[in-house]
Amino acid sequence: MTEALLKRRDVVAELLKDRAETIVVTGLGSSSYDVMAAGDHDLNYYLWGAMGGAAMVGLGLAKSRPNHNVLVVTGDGEMLMAMGAFATIAVQAPKNLTIAILDNGYYGETGMQLSHSGRGVELDKVAASVKFDWTARITDMAGVADLRRRVHARDALNCAAIAIDAVEVERVLPSRDGVYIKNRVKAALGQIL
């Protein structure tokens, strides 16, 4: 591989800079820790399980909250378990949804086994083939900054595979209490619980 790989925490910190009312959904494992490390927030919905569900939680949020930016931050392994969801999401095509895949090519949580993307499957091209409005493989921080602008623009259904390195970083753990995290998001969105 000739790409200089990005640092996952740098990528997520840049994506979440000045996030305002952006609602963030995280896939289980390292993506949840990365978003937590960037700063806990009432509008973060962390998954600790339900593998393959992050993008569809994002779709449900995007469709029910059309005036919010919705950002899904997940890993290549989690998204590989949701290959069908690419098609389901593309058919709905909400303009306020971005799927950011932190793609290191490995299943990090389970001992660094090589994933399908590590063996050549290009998830951004999967998204392109089902007709997401905008897709890219991002290999530099300028690309991450551009993606962040697209999250806030709310004018396209976006998917980016972001080439990160596979270096293990300290785990920063969000709450595992699903009810608490749910109610925190709902309250932050002004719902009566």
Partner: protein, 180 residues
Amino acid sequence: MTRTTPKTKSPINWQSQVYDILKEFHVKHMAYVPDAGHATAIDKFEADNEVTSVVLTTEEEGIPYLAGASLGGDRGVLLMQSSGVGNCINMLSLQNNARFPLLMLITMRGDWAEFNQWQNPMGQATEAALNLMGVRTWRADRPEEVEPLVRGAATMAFDGDQACAVLLGQRLIGKKEWTK
């Protein structure tokens, strides 16, 4: 498909009732994998601009979709066939952990007059599988049972954050809809 089940006249149009009741409960999202038994509700929802209809590639997508919609403050329903319940099992841990409301309407296969034995294993395990994952279930085998059961399940789902499924039996469905 040829069916030998005779068309019987029922004064109750339960297929339309399903849509009407869900509208009464302010359902804004209808996620589904197509099934003939749900055809009326699917058509009505697809034609309804106030409801987002989401066709899924696999039933398990519906669980996180409705969780996301619920986070956003909206109610939804998941329509599927019993074979699809098997596709949802681990994803139901999302509802289970976070106590999202979940309303599923499930048309049954493999429970009465099933001609295709490949439908039997999952159809016959459907109710137990849902119960094992913490989903409450009710069965409707007659047209007059549909309305109170859907109403009751919707009440418990939306007012009590429960996971609820109404199973629409083959004896109910077989009388209509599949005879073309």
